[in-house]
Point group: C2
Chain length 345, copies 2
Amino acid sequence: MRKRKGAGRPTISDVAERAGVSTITVSRALRDPSKVSDHLRRKINDAVRKLNYVPHSHASALASTRSNVIGVIVPSLTNNVFADTLRAIYDELYQGPFQVQLGNSRYVAKDEERLVRTFLGQGPSAMIVAGVDQTDATRELLENAECPVVQVMDISDDPIDMMVGFSHFEGGRAAGVHLVQKGYKRIGFLGARMDPRSHRRMEGFKEALRSGGRYDPDLMMTTTDSSSVSLGGHLIEQLRKCRPDLDAVFCNNDDMALGALFGCQKAGISVPDEMGIIGFNDLEMMAASYPSLTSIRTDRYQIGKRAVQMIKAVLDGETPEQKIIDLGFELQCRESTMRPKSKAR
Amino acid sequence: MRKRKGAGRPTISDVAERAGVSTITVSRALRDPSKVSDHLRRKINDAVRKLNYVPHSHASALASTRSNVIGVIVPSLTNNVFADTLRAIYDELYQGPFQVQLGNSRYVAKDEERLVRTFLGQGPSAMIVAGVDQTDATRELLENAECPVVQVMDISDDPIDMMVGFSHFEGGRAAGVHLVQKGYKRIGFLGARMDPRSHRRMEGFKEALRSGGRYDPDLMMTTTDSSSVSLGGHLIEQLRKCRPDLDAVFCNNDDMALGALFGCQKAGISVPDEMGIIGFNDLEMMAASYPSLTSIRTDRYQIGKRAVQMIKAVLDGETPEQKIIDLGFELQCRESTMRPKSKAR
DNA sequence: TTGTATGCGTTATCAA
DNA sequence: TTGATAACGCATACAA
């Protein structure tokens, strides 16, 4: 019977032969060098280099029922917010032995569930999912998964395993408090997509307005359409049509805020004198616009970085001091909410 | 000797047993149903459903030296341009049996080479890479790869295998022709990052200016810094400092163009009367800004979609009519280049 | 610390 | 069209 030919590249046996040891010793030398004597380790490393040996990840995954893949599931590929976190994850994993398996749930919980099921089937080394609003089935899958799981971008008091994010409720509240303090009177909300995190931002915002005696449900305008700059413009135009006395808006995110700014400019409304605008996330453009736009800064890059660091720590056998990392947020007060005759108290 | 326990989920043997056939028949029934009789196929499909069987991809990859992974390498995760293409790739692959393996080369050719090497090692079903400016080594790797390869976002007359994109040179030229036609006299270029594609855009742009008798090398301003809205503002400010008579700019991309717009507004320069601005890619925000911004529209989503379609076709044994697909671009003329007293000829 | 035997779940090979 | 058997390359269990 003729032998099957593999991919042609060197295998662990080739390395073992060249180094004069058994395959398992090579395997150990590569995965946990401390388990192999210095002498052999050196010979093995030499052989690896000479042969330009790269472990076959599929064979490894099959034998160990564990792959070096870290599953990452985000709700959007085009939303800058997740792009920053993703970039951090890739940056942090660039050196290491891990591969990213990226899934796009498109803001659909059922799709996320499907992806989690698929990814878990590959025996990932860890999982990173966005938000805390998984379906019950997803939660259960993840809770029973034999790998670290990090929920990112949000926090709650009931993590599946670990969490890195910030409170969207508090972020929304801070935006509301800011507008109230600046003396704006008829304060509205412009919300696109309205995924769970946007919802909590809105709730926090409402609470701040209520406390400040400025809450008016008619000024809360939301849609499930995905957010965009043009949508921000349309919504503020619509809202102003019903309520011309509107004098400030908190936008769901920065794209919407930029759109709202353009909308005001088109309508000849002065920002911030006649209309205060505040966004969320503080994308780079917020500081560069004219007038510059106030926003709630969140550190998406850091979120991705910390998530990976936690995973690495757990995989190294360490126990992280905290399972929940609240990275907070920071109000970036800029021209769009700087009224000259501010009535700050 | 005790048996090793796997992940616990059903295997192909379980299905085979339940259907009363051999494992290889199950394998065939799943991969190429036409090779199995209707009778058995039905029994097998029943068993698969009953057991909720999902093939173990690692085992499959190991045995066949071919995985269901499609490797995708982009130079940036945060650049909207690639995000759109990525989204299309994911959308188009959502149903199918394929997984995306995403790599971020961060605009570094050597990193791309490393990623290609790694991905190819996993025996991907196909590869998608951005641009046509791979290193020689990368090209060789890809040319020898036993899978379809698609270069996206750009085109040349020398594809590794297949291509979907458009001519950046022509795109840049179209921008130049437009500004010349609009009667602008002292026309500049603002370029960030200056990756190979940006470079070709600039070259096309220069050519148009030369033909129009408007080329002035002193007005070409480039930097290797990554593009951003604020950078667009800084560059135009700088350029105007040296050359206050500047009356139009072509920006490398839309972020830069938006920044240039803000920069002008800050400086009290009227757009488009005193300064014409044109961007590249036509992101959604370009139409929503005030004034709206002229740009060269490219269909990034379609690029991703077509790339995947080509791959699927080839994998299905079809031969695509064309190896190079030029999706072109389209000038979106908006307010930022609409001078009232336009001297269009 | 090192090695032997064997299994991980699938597919390629060859035979019927 | 279907099946028996041997790979695929590595890691686990156990022994030395």
